[in-house]
Symmetry: C2
Subunit: 201 residues, 2 copies
Amino acid sequence: MKLYDFELSGNCHKIRMLLSMLGQEYDRVDIDLRHKDQFDSDFVALNPLHKVPVLDDGDVLLRDSAAIMVYLARTYGKPELYPDAPAEMADVQQWLSFSVNEVFNGLAMVRANIIFKRGLDQAALTKAASDALDMLEHRLMDHDWLSLDRFTLADLGCYPYTALSHEGGMDLAKWPAVQAWCRRVESLPGYVAMPGLPGAT
Amino acid sequence: MKLYDFELSGNCHKIRMLLSMLGQEYDRVDIDLRHKDQFDSDFVALNPLHKVPVLDDGDVLLRDSAAIMVYLARTYGKPELYPDAPAEMADVQQWLSFSVNEVFNGLAMVRANIIFKRGLDQAALTKAASDALDMLEHRLMDHDWLSLDRFTLADLGCYPYTALSHEGGMDLAKWPAVQAWCRRVESLPGYVAMPGLPGAT
């Protein structure tokens, strides 16, 4: 199994963490977004959206962190992270959509604009990030996990860019339930760090 | 079953079309975004993101069109639209994520900015919409459907805002494979129209 991966990508971190939780070995192919590796023709042939992560698992080729998580959890022994029962699966799916739109376009971009110098409107991104944190806080103020009252792909999908958002100027102390949830994720067996997250070397 | 619905919403259209394909009756609750109904406290209690659609099916309450589609297809007799096999499910999921991010933030917003007068940067939205159409064209130039070589939630999720994008100034004649795919969707049993789509009254 081969993961096209960038160390500083939260979307890639979701996959590295899930692979760790599943106990799966894999080979890393480094796609350094700072060097525009994602626009190399070999990589664009794998993902015309020129985004990481991409997973190559024999005859399965997938882009998109949500899709890769669904595939890995259900192939390698943790289907309960994205369970069969339609109402439960859909409840998790709501948060996968939230991770793909609101978390990515708010919490990921508020950080990317700083650390990758994207030249976007930081005030607008801060508002979008703040709105996403409000939604997470609304759920987590009286629940330990985003969906189904247990750890699922919902949490894995929303965690990295939330926990990394301090690099974009967000102060999670203003969202205490979100902050406590981050600590819960970080205490799970199989948690892996990355630069900007607890435990990074 | 109750659908909180806005006639002009492409995200709602996905659900109306799927319910038609499944032969399911439902009650409509009109949430008129032009009148800011989505900010009424009763609706915000159902969906703190104040977006349509929302589905209430007894003890199941769901926001988000992708999640609602997953629930309906797998509950009411068309699980093949989002199939069990992990690699197939994940392949469809890639396009659900694409519908939630690139299609929504490009093709939906380029139209919303015109018809709902959002005051956003139309040139930037046109570029995002064009990029999304390029990705669809790339797939559809040598495939009839977005995923698995048959109609799935991938197509349903990406169809409405693509076919409605002429209301945002996009000329689909420049993306002929996308245009042909729209006609294929519109010829399916259970297809329903809405203002701006073929067959609207």
